[in-house]
Point group: C2
DNA sequence: TGGCTTGAGTGATTACTATCACAGAAGGAC
DNA sequence: GTCCTTCTGTGATAGTAATCACTCAAGCCA
């Protein structure tokens, strides 16, 4: 359960009154590691501000494949769930709790109301969009121009940055995130291990290279 | 040279005073078809609102390859050039005039000033982000999950939607936009022609399918 | 008209990735 | 320990796209 001090640390530079309203009208919601927060095709009724844990955003296709787009960490908010004040669109992507997660869920009417009342809020919203937009651009870059070995390297580095040198992921999970196949990932990681970049364990790997 | 009426038509629902300020402080800039409006790596000093013509946004890699991301048409604005009020970032992408283009260029200080003064302006900015964000998500979807034949079909349809049934593009240009090669595009388009979807001319093609 | 440039068509080859088919290893359950 | 499930490693094969090497066609222009 977040208090005002936590909010101030995670989401700095908002107006005083806004912190109070966030606490008053936001709903604290917890998700266990592995659970689905937002599913493709479902309507979005609130904005998520991440308080604790890591949320994985994926782009889904019609066959149920999930393509990793980016992580949200504490202090970040979901851009997808900010679009809906202008319509009642459905989610194109899905969000999943990777670790245990606590979010502050802001009902859309407040989301919109505060846009008019708090300058810091609309800066926050715009900043959120900007960050997620840049993340997406980088993703486009990688899948448009890079081969699987480079994409895997970028991907693993993102995981290491998020979870530390020892990352718990199976080859199958990595393959899903990159829309590839387990065998391909297995081979490429074996090569990285031979080069001394990583060491491979069951269900996890360790990043060795500086 | 746009007048207030034109602006009102292209960018509806802004406040009265804002139209006047747009005309007063925005700079009208024209670009000939084919010229480069914004280049990767250059700092962004203003926001572009498209008045006339079509602007192509591309994501560039380090080797100079350009990957088509989306079109901007009259009444739209460039999300990329809206990020900079929070820093002095450089462009990750490039913008090119496809037809003769007229844009209203808004210096960043006004861009930011109006965010505080005009509610309609920050809605406009957020709406712009939202649209471009969704465009990007669709792009990710296509390159992550689709084969070249499907991506080509999507691509050609986007061109047709933008320029009408008869589109002037060489196979080489299409290949560049999709980060593919001329021969591949040539073969796939030949197949589409055999299926009666298009007819191929020198420097152009025609969309036949309903 | 003939040369020249640019764009398009097509076969052959190569590279990368996906898929199939297993074998073997690790670890939990009993 | 033994069984069983899950994860990983690896060869063989197939499919898609990129690259190479040409030929041919269209249109300019002198």
């Amino acid at each position: 359960m977040p208090d005002e001090l936590t909010l101030r640390k995670l989401f700095p530079n908002l107006e005083d009154g806004l912190y109070e309203e966030l606490l008053q009208y936001g709903n604290v919601r917890s998700f266990a590691a592995g659970s689905v927060i937002l599913k493709k095709g479902h309507p979005i009724r609130s904005t998520m501000m991440v308080i604790e844990g890591v949320v994985k955003l994926s782009q889904d296709d019609d066959e149920g494949d999930e393509f990793f787009v980016y992580h949200l960490e504490p202090g970040q908010a979901c851009a997808l769930s900010m679009v809906c004040n202008f319509g009642h669109e459905k989610s194109e992507a899905s969000a999943k709790a990777i670790t245990d997660v606590v979010v502050l869920s802001i009902p859309l009417q407040y989301m919109e109301k505060w846009l008019g009342e708090y300058k810091s809020w609309h800066y926050f919203v715009i900043k959120t969009y900007r960050s997620r937009y840049n993340d997406l651009l980088q993703t486009v870059n990688e899948i448009a121009f890079r081969n699987m070995d480079e994409r895997l390297e970028f991907y693993l580095l993102k995981q290491v940055k998020q979870f530390g040198n020892h990352v718990k992921l199976t080859h199958q999970e990595i393959a899903n995130d990159l829309n590839s196949s387990r065998e391909v990932i297995s081979r490429l990681m074996k090569k990285m291990e031979k080069n001394g970049w990583i060491s491979i364990h069951r269900n996890s790997f360790e990043w060795l290279r500086k």
